[in-house]
């Protein structure tokens, strides 16, 4: 028996799918925000004087980077209620994405901090810049510029990873797709189209990040 592809179900479900895209972006944005907070705190703790704190951060980074996100989200799904956090699946997914992205953010931000030489800061003072100016123009902006490509790449990775949050039925594009699939049994058509929705999301993000980079970071280094 032949099978005829029917993409009309996808067309009818397009409004729901587009809302799923919004859900995915929201999930990624919230996860990335949490990841940045964990990243900054983690970098500070990574270089602290307390050896146990340094070991804790290193251990956290290694564990997160060497285990699958799916296992992490399952673990958190059951662990969070035990510490009194009874959250809905979407909030759980945000925490899981934040924890996962945070481990990578620690490494990225640490690289940015290390890329600023002490001599540059001293040169800034020698030129008569005051403290705020030194921080803004000599520390923050070059550091941001140094980590911008990895950080935006990480954001796109996080957006794609968020599809795994459908495993705990968080509200995002893949779980919307799964619902439509179970209503229509058009598995291939639905997932094929949704794959290209993700592709559109990541290409738009890449384009947006490139525009921002061109606007703020296109000055010569030497």
């Amino acid at each position: 028996m032949g099978y005829t592809l029917d993409f009309s179900v996808v067309w009818h479900a397009m409004p729901a799918l587009l809302w799923g895209c919004v859900g995915t972006l929201g999930l990624a944005l919230a996860g990335m925000t949490l990841a940045m907070i964990i990243g900054v705190v983690g970098v500070a703790a990574r270089d602290s004087k307390a050896a146990w704190l340094r070991a804790l951060v290193i251990g956290f980074v290694e564990i997160v980077r060497n285990t699958p996100f799916l296992v992490q989200i399952f673990f958190l799904f059951f662990a969070l209620p035990l510490i009194g956090l009874k959250l809905n699946p979407t909030a759980t997914a945000i925490i899981a994405l934040g924890v996962n992205g945070g481990a990578y953010a620690i490494e990225i931000i640490r690289g940015g901090v290390q890329s600023i030489h002490k001599g540059q800061v001293e040169a800034g003072y020698a030129l008569g810049l005051h403290k705020g100016q030194v921080f803004r123009f000599i520390v923050l902006k070059p550091a941001l510029r140094a980590i911008y490509p990895s950080l935006t790449g990480q954001f796109i990775m996080l957006t794609l990873t968020s599809s795994i949050c459908s495993a705990v039925s968080a509200y995002e594009l893949t779980s919307v797709a799964q619902r439509i699939e179970s209503d229509t049994f058009r598995s291939f058509e639905v997932y094929f189209s949704v794959t290209f929705l993700y592709l559109a999301i990541s290409w738009l993000l890449m384009l947006g990040f490139a525009v921002v980079s061109h606007r703020f970071f296109s000055y010569p280094t030497r």
């Binding site: 099978y3 290694e62 564990i63 980077r65 060497n66 285990t67 699958p68 996100f69 799916l70 296992v71 992490q72 399952f74 673990f75 799904f77 059951f78 662990a79 035990l82 796109i156 794609l160 990873t161 599809s163 795994i164 459908s166 495993a167 893949t174 598995s187 291939f188 997932y191 094929f192 949704v194 794959t195 290209f196 993700y198 592709l199 990541s202 290409w203 890449m206």
Partner: protein, 218 residues
Amino acid sequence: MTPHFGLPEFGFLLRGLQWTVLLTVVAFVGGCTAGLAVALLRTCGHKGVEWITRIYIGIFQGTPLLLQLFVVYYGLALTGLKLDAFVAVAIGFTVNASAFLGEIWRGAIQAVPRGQTEAAMALGLHYSSRMRDIVLPQAIRISLPATIGFLVQLIKGTSLAAIVGFIELARAGQIVSNQTFQPLLVFGVVGAMYFILCWPLSWWGSRMEARLALASQR
């Protein structure tokens, strides 16, 4: 009565681990073969071919692995072939690996100094000898840390086969967790198993990267 997490359950997880390893090996070997072809096509010098392989790589890098698996899994089902679940997911991971390894090796091939290719041409070596004897041996050295990094990604990625229902380590963990009602213990053990598999590779990869960086400074 619900069983507690004991030796039989641990054994079940170990059998899942076996499937994870097997899936990784099959996808990595297949991905290396196809990835080499992708990398060579991507650097072949023909504009049209390079553009097509670039799109191919871009599609796999810009979409979630989970959706790629879904498309391959349900797409293969449409062809009417009765494929084993293992074969279907192995094909999915292989195609994904071919794109990522292709891109890693594309970078490595282009990182080999141009003078090497030019010298080989001046010596009258033809394309296959130039690649096999001059460019690829150097490119492999350069690409090794990133290749190992991708292998770790692949091991972690095989956990997604659980979502399409193939019983590997993550799916075995879900099953045992549902039977024993001890999710934290079970997923803790499952996580530890993945960690034992991935961490030595990560460590090896970063050590090699540091050594290569040191060598290039000289």
